[in-house]
């Protein structure tokens, strides 16, 4: 297959776009598309300071690379979760994130959860029995809190994540199966900043297929962590991605059409704002981040419980 731009041998074919490109033209096409989405969804400008949430995976490193190539001011944030899983997952992902930052002379902030809160994510999940045998619930809660805090304290205008179309379509699919209208109302390329300190969140890769971001990382020579989080094995979201890929194989463009039709339905009022995040959020008395809870937010309550359990376990038993 030949590159549509130059006629050389193509490195990738995107059936949904009826477009095949060689390495050189593909590495130009991805930033062009990303720039188009940043403008289309009014995500940020070159005057804004962007904080990129970096996991060491292909999507977030590719995003950081693209934003930097496009001339945006983008720092990285890596959150050390303390996940080993027999493969040194967190240690290796941090090493790769730091190596990328160093090689490109970019600023990476590292926040280690165990140093900050006294326990790793897997330990916190075990101590609180939250999420049964998987720490994903504690992990998501903690990452959201830390990302928001670093964005706020660092004076960043926007927090960018590497969510791709497959992530978005799988989330949409899951929320549609359960008609979770509250989640549907808040899903989109941009989550606006909210009074009280919730940072503006954007997903510049939301219309790029996961296959496309992986190809970009490979062709750019970005060294990313190939293994996914050990706790993601068997996750429902991966089942949803596989289901959607079967649809895509039969009908190229099905995933993109699903997501874009949803965004259009949302624009047309299918999911009114009142179904989304409450406007009646109050600052948490402990950390100051907005919460719908009457007292401390879920993050503060969870980590209070972790500390209490740890203390109880460490207290000497009475002879």
């Amino acid at each position: 297959m030949k590159c549509r731009s130059c006629g050389q041998t193509a490195a990738i074919n995107m059936r949904h776009h009826k477009l095949a490109l060689c390495r050189e033209h593909y590495l130009g096409w991805i930033p062009e598309q990303t720039e188009r989405f940043i403008h289309k969804y009014d995500m940020f400008t070159r005057d804004d300071r962007v904080l990129v949430a970096v996991s060491g995976g292909k999507d977030s490193l590719a995003l950081w690379d693209v934003l930097t190539r496009l001339g945006y001011s983008a720092d990285g944030l890596y959150i050390g979760l303390g996940i080993d899983g027999g493969i040194g997952y967190s240690a290796e992902s941090q090493r790769l994130a730091q190596a990328f930052a160093d090689a490109n002379r970019l600023q990476l902030q590292v926040v280690d959860v165990a140093e900050l809160e006294g326990a790793s994510i897997p330990d916190a999940a075990r101590l609180t029995h939250r999420g049964r045998d998987k720490p994903c619930s504690v992990c998501g809660l903690t990452k959201r809190h830390i990302m928001n805090r670093v964005a706020r304290d660092g004076g960043y205008d926007v927090l960018a994540t590497g969510h791709n179309l497959d992530d978005e379509a799988a989330t949409l699919f899951g929320n549609t199966l359960t008609w979770s209208t509250g989640y549907l109302a808040r899903q989109g390329p941009v989550l606006p900043a909210m009074a009280g300190g919730l940072a503006r969140k954007v997903k510049p890769f939301c219309r790029l297929y996961e296959r496309e971001t992986a190809a970009y990382a490979l062709l750019r020579g970005i060294d990313y962590i190939y293994d996914e989080c050990p706790f993601a094995v068997g996750a429902t979201s991966i089942d949803h991605k596989e289901t959607l890929n079967r649809l895509e194989a039969a009908r190229p463009g099905a995933k993109l059409a699903f997501y874009l039709s949803f965004l259009e339905a949302k624009r047309n009022g299918a999911f009114p704002q009142e179904l989304g995040p409450s406007s009646a959020l109050l600052p948490c008395p402990r950390c100051g981040q907005p919460t719908s809870a009457p007292e401390a937010c879920a993050f503060c309550r969870t980590w209070d419980k972790v500390r209490a359990r740890r203390s109880a376990l460490q207290e000497p038993t009475t002879p």
């Binding site: 493969i87 190939y226 293994d227 050990p230 993601a232």
Partner: protein
């Protein structure tokens, strides 16, 4: 492929799995035959990305890079220069 000689199967490697298929068919046809969603992998030949309409050569090895996140504990990394 030499005419008259017995063709060597082409090998497709995905994570820790190895598949053998007859040469001559396209990568896409081989993936579909093996029950691998073409959308979920990127085929590489000699460390270079290739499109899935490429025909499999006699005895060659195609490494497949998984693009779906998850499900890869301890799997070998097919990218060039990485431990396998």
């Amino acid at each position: 492929m030499r005419r008259g000689a017995n063709p060597m199967p082409a090998t497709l490697k995905l994570r820790d799995k190895v598949y053998e298929v007859p040469p001559g068919m396209t990568v896409r046809d081989a993936l579909l035959r093996l029950g691998i969603e073409p959308e979920s992998v990127l085929p590489t030949r000699g460390g270079q990305l290739i499109t899935d309409d490429e025909h499999l050569q006699d005895g060659e090895v195609i490494r497949l890079v998984a693009v779906i996140s998850g499900g890869a504990q301890g799997a070998s990394d097919p990218r060039p220069g990485r431990p396998r």
